[in-house]
């Protein structure tokens, strides 16, 4: 085997690498903290969070309120914004020194970027893009559940001999914990030494709108290729239903919706009470993103589209025939209610 840097005997503790944008914790990191708290309790171990960047003090306190016993804060101008090399260097040094048993990161663009690099540097195993995490009661190992072997296949992965047991977690799969301001935790500043030579890649420009978080939307209207870029229609519908707009990969790649609104394996796992899915074929990589929805309504002109296998209400018809009428009815319904109020 490829020898790990340290083994199970020396390893202890559950660590979470926290992602943030301008000092604000990413929702996926909050979700991971919630689950990691439960894993740490089960193993009767402390939960450590790692924050890297600059100006992240507020986020450290938030991490404590969300379950961390200890927050390691590494601040340096070269850690902001994120690039791989300096982050990998700092986190690798921390891990090698303190030897955590479990290290969890977000399956976000930056989280994956860092996790893949770090796992090889640490010569350890990485279970990527987990949809669930638990502890195997028989051997105490972290069990990561992953999908993506194609049509509806789930695999569970363990890392028996290498440490830390690393996993990245898909956004939206775990519940966000309620913050508890009375929780106590230790915040430790880590001394960081970095020079320009540690940062080969430079960020020239960074444009971030406040990314929309569709994982928490109560209602979702989803655009697929079948809506042919006519988002005006869907937006009207979404406004009437007080819903967020989501899209398939096709819709996101075509620029009809932002990539932050993509539903599915590469996009997000959503939990709406109601998902209205329009002109979507229902590829497995998409449907994993709506499997937790309360009710799924699908509109598709092809009666054999696989989306109908995972829908509660199936409308075999042209979206351009059905939606304008539905909008018209909803509008007149609204007017009626407006008058009676």
């Amino acid at each position: 085997m490829i020898d790990p840097r340290y083994g199970p005997q020396e390893a202890a503790g559950v660590w979470v690498h926290l992602e943030h944008e301008a000092g604000e914790l990413a929702s996926v990191s909050k979700e991971i903290l919630g689950r990691a708290r439960a894993l740490a309790d089960e193993r009767q171990e402390p939960l450590t969070a790692v924050l890297m960047g600059s100006g992240v003090g507020g986020a450290a306190l938030e991490a404590v309120s969300l379950g961390a016993d200890e927050v390691l804060v590494a601040e340096h101008p070269l850690l902001d914004p994120y690039t791989t090399a300096p982050h990998a260097k700092v986190l690798d040094a921390l891990v090698a020194e303190r030897k955590p048993d479990i290290l969890l990161l977000a399956a976000s663009p930056d989280g994956r970027d860092l996790a893949g690099r770090l796992a090889v540097r640490l010569r350890t195993g990485l279970t990527a893009d987990c949809t669930d995490l638990r502890i195997n009661p028989e051997n105490g190992l972290l069990v990561g559940e992953v999908t993506g072997f194609g049509q509806g296949i789930l695999a569970t992965i363990e890392c028996p001999d290498h440490r830390p047991q690393m996993a990245t977690v898909r956004p939206g799969v775990f519940q966000r914990p309620e913050p508890d301001a009375s929780r106590e935790g230790r915040v430790e500043k880590i001394a960081v030494e970095l020079s320009e030579a540690d940062r080969p890649v430079r960020v020239m420009r960074r444009s971030l709108k406040h990314g929309v978080d569709i994982t928490q939307a109560e209602r979702l209207v989803v655009a697929g290729r079948g809506v042919s870029g006519d988002l005006a229609l869907l937006k009207r519908l979404a406004r009437l239903l007080k819903a967020e707009i989501g899209g398939t990969r096709v819709a996101a790649d075509a620029g009809w919706v932002g990539h932050d609104r993509m539903v599915g394996q590469t996009g997000s796992v959503t939990h709406p009470k109601l998902a209205l899915v329009c002109g979507v074929s229902g590829a497995f990589q998409f449907t994993v993103g709506i499997q937790d929805a309360g009710t799924v309504i699908a509109i598709n002109s092809d009666k054999d589209a696989p989306i109908f296998d995972v829908a509660d209400v199936c409308v075999v018809d042209d979206v351009f025939q059905v939606l304008p009428r539905l909008i018209e009815y909803l509008e007149s319904e609204k007017k009626k209610n407006g008058r009676s109020d």
């Binding site: 085997m1 490829i2 790990p4 690039t83 791989t84 663009p109 994956r112 970027d113 860092l114 996790a115 893949g116 690099r117 090889v120 010569r123 350890t124 195993g125 990485l126 893009d129 195997n136 069990v143 992953v146 993506g148 072997f149 194609g150 049509q151 509806g152 296949i153 789930l154 695999a155 569970t156 992965i157 890392c159 080969p200 890649v201 430079r202 960020v203 020239m204 420009r205 444009s207 990314g211 929309v212 209602r219 239903l241 932002g258 990539h259 590469t266 109601l274 497995f284 499997q291 009710t295 109908f308 296998d309 995972v310 509660d312 209400v313 018809d317 059905v322 009428r325 009815y329 909803l330």
Partner: protein
């Protein structure tokens, strides 16, 4: 800059819609599944070929896989690549990302000169985008993952690339040599160039390298070199859905939808 040398890592994957779980043994059945070049790798190849069209130089394909993968390397050469290397050995089988990235990195290293390694962002059959960062680590190269477009600045030996982020994007510059991974759907892969077809099928050089050819220790590759084990495989439980089909004209369906939506949103 001397001639630009680009290496593209191409993976041959089973068509995901044709892989299933054997309900009795809980193992993956890939037996009858047809194969294809991993979709994101087609985008990686397209990006590399565009750079070659602009700046000259060569594109070399590297793949780790079974012998039949050679055909797919030839397909890539018909699209415009110049040479192919297939890293193929029984000992490579069953690898997780740690040994996979190791073998690919050793393959790239054995090519000796390389300015840019281009990978797909993720493969469709399970692994999810960890191999490119792993290759970069083994080779000690800077990395830029999740790229949609890239330009080369040959004078300053930099690559300028755009990365998609949650809710936005960033533009970064990385010094050559480096590794980039390309997002699925970042571009339109070109068609096969029929002028190259006969050459690609018959004459184009495909070199097969085994573990011994690469001087690799067998205990570091394949299943033996892996850190993770698959503890179980199962068919995903899917939520039971009602699958109620509405009937009538578009208007009638819209009316029925309205009634249902009203009920749900009230509840």
């Amino acid at each position: 800059m001397s001639e630009l040398k680009i290496v593209v890592c191409l993976k041959v994957v089973p068509k995901s819609e044709e892989v299933s779980v054997n309900p009795e043994t809980n193992t993956l059945e890939r037996g009858n599944a047809r194969s294809e070049i991993n979709a994101a790798d087609m985008n990686a190849l397209q990006l590399a070929l565009d750079l070659k069209d602009t700046h000259g130089g060569s594109v070399t394909l590297v793949s780790m896989g079974p012998p039949f993968a050679e055909r797919y390397l030839r397909l890539g050469m018909a699209m415009g690549a110049d040479a192919g290397y297939l890293l193929s050995d029984r000992a490579f089988g069953g690898a997780d990302t740690l040994p996979t990235s190791y073998v690919l990195a050793e393959g790239v290293r054995a090519l000796q000169e390389c300015d840019l390694v281009v990978c797909g962002e993720e493969s469709s059959d399970g692994a999810t985008g960890q191999v490119p960062a792993g290759i970069a680590e083994w080779l000690d190269l800077p990395q830029v993952t999740g790229v949609t477009t890239a330009q080369l600045l040959p004078k300053s030996r930099l690559i300028r690339a755009r990365r998609e982020l949650h809710g936005g994007y960033e533009v970064v510059e990385a010094p050559l040599p480096c590794l980039v991974s390309v997002r699925l759907g970042a571009n339109e892969p070109r068609f096969i160039d029929f002028q190259r077809w006969d050459w690609a099928l018959e004459e184009a050089p495909v070199t097969v390298w085994s573990a011994a050819d690469l001087n690799l220790d067998e205990s570091l590759v394949g299943l033996k070199g892996s850190a993770t084990v698959v503890a179980g495989v199962a068919a995903a439980a899917t939520a039971e859905r009602r699958r109620e089909f509405l009937s009538g004209t578009a208007e009638e369906k819209a009316e029925q939808l309205l009634e249902r939506i009203k009920n749900w949103t009230r509840a």
